[in-house]
């Protein structure tokens, strides 16, 4: 049996164990804000390089850069696993949380020297959180402790199909089409003693919509690669799912959100025989939702910058073990707080990681760890986090 079928079986087996892309919990307290926290579907290599997933050298299977898949000799698949742990301080209240998910599963299938097709699944928005408040009310002549609760469980993910075309040997273009999927359940109500969850009210929404993307990759020399990508989300629709189990209450209304234009770019240069440096950045036009989300504090355009380096000088048993470091910073799109005076949070993180070539080069696994903080107005919100990422690319080189 060749290496490819074996790996396919393993990948299918591992992925079959878990609800892919689904968060078991939230990865940040900021998931309570706006449309939630955006989850970047990047692999552990990009994570270790500060999140730089655009413009890396050579052919790659990349969510953000479909064009990078031109030049793959054989089909391949990459999947990533991510574990987040955070600690938030808001209004003097400390909250811990953690999440595990597969944010990325993407396959690439070269159909000719110039054309490669891609298909996969990537996380998009995390909307899992709960807010509680305890109070005491007088009922039947007695004080009764009640708990008010608002919770949200679910999120949005994207199914993608893409095509990459090599215009020239050093220039390629990519186009992609995304289908938004997912659902979220909202619960708002009051728990009385003895009640495990509020008897009312639940509302479920299914997400749908189509998004579009385009990218390019240009290598003016063997030591330099430039790439950029743009995506336009189109309209994300949230449709009410009728609830026939609970009390008859208003089911809520359908919602639609015009998702923003998102731009990313990156440059990677080889600065030594075994050393590569990458820098990049991104911009997301979330301010288009500012009016719609005004009651939640509104939204702003967000930006990010990243830099990283990879050194392939370490050889273990004739295998290169690339070592990576990176850092990133940026602003986040949704306010922490419902008023227009509340702060938008900023995110800063540094990361490191390593890779390992397996099965005679048929597979590559990467590990990354990231440590950072998200800070709004320091008096009202701060959050520290660490993240572990693991990814495997099977063939596709």
């Amino acid at each position: 049996m060749s290496a490819f079928p074996r790996f396919s079986i393993l990948v299918a087996g591992v992925l079959g164990l878990f609800p892919i892309g689904h968060s078991l919990s939230a990865q940040s307290a900021l998931s309570t804000r706006g449309l939630g926290v955006e989850i970047e579907p990047v692999d552990a290599r990009a994570r270790a390089l500060g999140g730089g997933a655009v413009g890396l050298m050579d052919s790659e299977i990349s969510w953000y850069n479909t064009a990078a898949s031109v030049g793959l000799a054989v089909p391949g698949i990459i999947f990533a696993y991510q574990y987040d742990n955070y600690e938030s301080l808001s209004g003097g209240t400390l909250t811990h949380g953690r999440a595990a998910r597969f944010p990325l599963i993407l396959g690439a299938f070269p159909v000719s020297e110039r054309v490669t097709l891609t298909a996969g699944y990537g996380s998009f928005l995390d909307q899992s959180w709960r807010i509680e408040r305890e109070d005491t009310i007088a009922l039947a002549g007695e004080s009764t402790v009640i708990t008010d609760e608002i919770s949200s469980t679910g999120g949005v993910a994207r199914l993608r199909a893409g095509v990459a075309y090599g215009l020239r040997s050093n220039l390629s273009l990519g186009l992609s089409l995304d289908s938004y999927v997912g659902e979220v359940e909202r619960v708002q109500g009051r728990r009385f003693p003895g009640e495990g969850s509020p008897g009312c009210c639940r509302g479920s929404y299914n997400y749908s919509g189509i998004g579009y993307g385009g990218s390019f990759q240009w290598a003016p020399s063997e030591a330099l690669t430039l790439a950029g990508s743009a995506s336009y989300g189109g309209t994300l629709k949230a449709g009410v799912v009728a609830d026939t189990t609970g009390p008859r209450f208003d089911a809520g209304a359908d919602r639609s959100y015009e998702l923003p234009l998102q731009l990313r770019g990156g440059i990677t240069g080889r600065v030594g025989q075994a050393t590569m440096v990458t820098v990049g950045g991104g911009w997301n036009g979330w301010s288009g939702l500012d009016d719609l989300l005004a009651e939640q504090g509104g939204a702003q355009d967000s930006w990010s910058g990243n830099a990283g380096a990879e050194w392939e000088g370490l050889i273990v048993r004739d295998r290169p073990v690339p070592l990576r470091v990176g850092a990133r910073m940026g602003t986040l799109p949704f306010r922490w707080g419902d008023t227009a005076t509340a702060a938008f949070a900023e995110e800063r993180a540094f990361s490191f990681g390593a890779g390992l070539v397996l099965a005679g080069g048929a597979a590559r696994s990467d590990l990354a760890a990231e440590f950072g903080e998200r800070v709004g107005d320091e008096s009202s919100f701060s959050e520290s986090f660490w993240r572990f990422a693991f990814s495997v690319r099977v063939l596709g080189r």
């Binding site: 078991l24 209004g91 608002i150 469980t153 009390p247 397996l358």
Partner: protein
């Protein structure tokens, strides 16, 4: 092979990491009170209906049970100034012979006896210290028909006691019980029976035994009596052997009978009093807090948190008030129009559907001090589960039986006013919306 092992190990590590946080899966929960949107705080309403607004009928039924179905024996003396009860016991058949050293001995003699009983764990006693008197019973009785006044009470052939409550002979002994005695013996009552009395009992010269309480205002439940005889074999005058005496007829006699006031709901007692309430669940509820004006809503349009019947306790007379907390079994009544013959259905369940709690029967409890003279208290019977089920089935009538199980398992009774209240606590719904 090594390569395959490494790859497999890699995936196993990855899978394990993926599973790890899932083991403690819980939504991140923010508890900052300032972070809860003010406009999303739910409104809960307490709505109380008076009896005339929901009660269709209230009836009390009795079962053909009596003191023979009661698992213990009752002793009382002037309890609540009214109730008296004595235990009368015929201690069965004494042996004509014993076998000792493989020899049949028909001329043995009794050296003494030991009568024992226990205070059951229910501790149905009126006082933490009690003295139980054991008397020789002079006149025989018929256990099936004996009453306080009559030792035989057959139709056409009644025979009165010479002394109502059982004609007493000599006092055999006094057993003192102290609730604070914290050991197994502390729950036991022992009376030593002299040889002379044992001989009389064995020779049918004594009719049996009688247990009384002599202190004022005392009442207690005790177990059946047991007698152990100490016997001296004819051949070995220096030896004593013990033999249990086969238990005979035992019962208790009391006066007066439990009152049957017509204007109260009764639960428990030797007649297994059962109260049946037929209620109409409301079809409209206020749609806002009482001080506001708004349209009414149907109960299925709100989140019902609790529905309970609130019963006002009534002091129990005749010495039949409870001495310990009790549980009321609530069961749905099927075909309530059949009255006393209506079959009982499922137990009323407390939890509402979807609460995540086990769907267990609800046994509301009451306390002994709620039925004393001058006490006016309330007992809440939570019927949320049954009411929710009725609403879900688009029914509004509910018939509920209040009883004590097993039947006749309590001597005392619980009384409640025939004008219960229906209390509904509900929360107005909200619409969970996305931003």
């Amino acid at each position: 092979m090594r390569r395959k092992l490494r790859i497999t190990a890699l995936f196993m590590v990855g899978g394990g990491l993926a599973i790890a946080p899932g083991c403690a899966d819980r939504l991140p929960t923010f508890t900052d009170p300032e972070g809860f949107p003010e406009n999303l705080i739910p409104t809960s309403i307490e709505y109380v209906l008076e009896a005339e607004d929901f009660l269709r009928s209230a009836a009390v039924y009795e079962l053909p049970t009596n003191k023979d179905d009661f698992p213990g024996l009752v002793v009382a003396n002037d309890f609540d100034g009214v109730l008296n009860a004595h235990v009368v016991a015929d201690l069965g058949t004494f042996p004509d012979t014993i076998v000792y050293d493989n020899a049949v001995d028909s001329t043995f003699s009794y050296t003494s006896g030991l009568v024992s009983a226990t205070i059951p764990d229910t501790l149905n006693v009126s006082s933490p210290q009690l003295s139980f008197y054991l008397w020789e019973l002079v006149e025989s009785f018929e256990a099936d028909s004996v009453t306080w006044e009559r030792r035989i009470d057959r139709p056409g052939n009644p025979v009165n006691w010479t002394q109502p409550g059982g004609t007493r002979g000599t006092l055999i002994g006094v057993a003192r019980w102290d609730r604070t005695t914290a050991n197994a013996v502390g729950d036991s009552l022992f009376w030593t029976v002299p040889a002379l009395v044992m001989e009389r009992l064995a020779n049918d010269q004594a009719a049996g035994l009688l247990v009384t309480l002599e202190g004022d205002n005392e009442r207690a439940d005790i177990s059946r009596l047991a007698l152990q005889a100490s016997i001296r074999p004819t051949a070995r005058q220096d030896t004593t052997v013990t033999r249990p005496i086969a238990s005979g007829e035992q019962t208790f006699i009391y006066t007066p009978e439990a009152p049957r006031p017509a204007d109260v709901l009764r639960v428990g007692g030797l007649r297994s009093d059962r109260s049946v309430l037929r209620i109409n669940l409301p079809t409209v509820l206020p749609g806002c807090a009482p001080q506001l004006t708004c349209p009414t809503v149907h109960p299925t349009q709100v989140s019902i948190n609790r529905i309970d019947l609130e019963l006002e306790t009534v002091p129990v007379t005749g010495g039949y008030r409870p001495l310990t907390p009790g549980l009321i079994a609530m069961r749905q009544v099927l075909q309530p129009e059949l009255g006393s013959k209506a079959p009982l259905g499922f137990y009323i369940n407390t939890p509402l559907n979807g609460t995540g709690l086990p769907n267990v029967a609800s046994f509301p409890n009451y306390f002994e001090d709620q039925f004393t003279a001058g006490a006016a208290d309330r007992v809440s019977l939570v019927i949320s589960g049954a009411a929710a089920a009725a609403y879900a089935a688009e029914e509004t009538e509910l018939a509920i039986a209040l009883l004590v199980e097993p039947e006749a398992s309590r001597f005392d009774v619980a009384w409640f006013s025939q004008r219960p209240k229906l209390r509904i606590i509900y929360t107005l719904p909200q619409t969970p919306e996305l931003p």
